[in-house]
């Protein structure tokens, strides 16, 4: 099962999909496109892997175990 986590005021909002569920995969892919259009940044990792093993991705990968969406950074 793949999971997308979008950092937000609740901590994170999660969307999950099973790779053999075409409808769920399509919904996840559409969400991916929407978040990318909002300029959020996705990182894929194996479930529970540390940050140094997370990889910034540019396209939706339905086989990814976990995708974490973060915001672009800015000088404070």
């Amino acid at each position: 099962m793949g999971v997308m986590r979008v950092l937000d005021s609740t901590g994170d909002t999660t969307v999950a999909w099973e790779i053999d569920d075409q409808a769920a995969v399509k919904q996840a892919e559409e969400l991916f496109a929407r978040l990318a259009a909002e300029r959020k940044i996705p990182f894929a990792r194996a479930a529970g892997a540390p940050a140094e093993e997370a990889e910034r991705i540019k396209a939706f990968d339905p086989s990814a175990e976990e995708i974490i969406w973060v915001r672009p950074i800015t000088g404070g």
Binding site: G11, I41, V70, R71, I73, G75
Partner: protein
């Protein structure tokens, strides 16, 4: 193929059943409603003569706890120890180490210039309506710092530790 035989309706949506056939033949099991399982499959085993456990419901996590759980899952062992002990941890980059844990006050030990700077970098769009729990700020910065440290340093506002004046990025080379 094992099946279950209903023994008793326990109320509250719970049902006591007995497994018929298979490895667990004869075992008594309490079936609980999906809402009590928080999306995780669970089986409560009922031992004859024991009191039935009270229905357990996982309390919803607060945003702070959710964020903390995610952050901790991203930390290596040393970072996790530091985070749990003092709510700060270091992130190594080719240029030096950055300490995350105090908003707008990130210590940067620049090993290429043998100096320390204080950085300020934040996730964008963090307004009142979209305020991230603090641990999410560190998750955000942690992932960005690991993936592209040079962009992180170019973006940061910075100052010298003993100076109150902030400078726009990039950090001087």
């Amino acid at each position: 193929m094992p099946s279950v035989s209903v023994v008793q309706d326990l109320g509250g949506g719970r049902t006591l059943v007995q497994v018929v056939g298979g490895t667990y033949d004869g075992s008594m099991v309490v079936l609980t409603p999906a809402s009590e399982r928080s999306g995780i499959r669970s089986i409560s085993w009922y031992l004859e003569g024991d009191g039935l456990p009270a229905p357990t419901r996982r309390a919803p996590m607060s945003p702070a706890d959710r964020a903390n759980e995610l952050l901790e899952s991203l930390l290596c062992q040393k970072q996790l120890e530091d985070w749990r002990r003092r709510k700060h941890f270091w992130v190594r980059t080719p240029r030096g180490s950055v300490e995350l844990g105090t908003v707008s006050h990130l210590r940067f030990i620049d090993s290429t210039r043998d100096r320390e700077l204080i950085l300020c970098v934040l996730p964008g769009g963090d307004n009142d309506e979209a305020r991230l729990p603090e641990a999410d700020i560190w998750t955000n910065l942690l992932l960005m710092l690991h993936s592209d440290p040079e962009r992180f340093f170019r973006t940061a506002n910075w100052r010298y530790p003993k100076d109150r004046t902030w400078w726009w990025g990039p950090i001087p080379g």
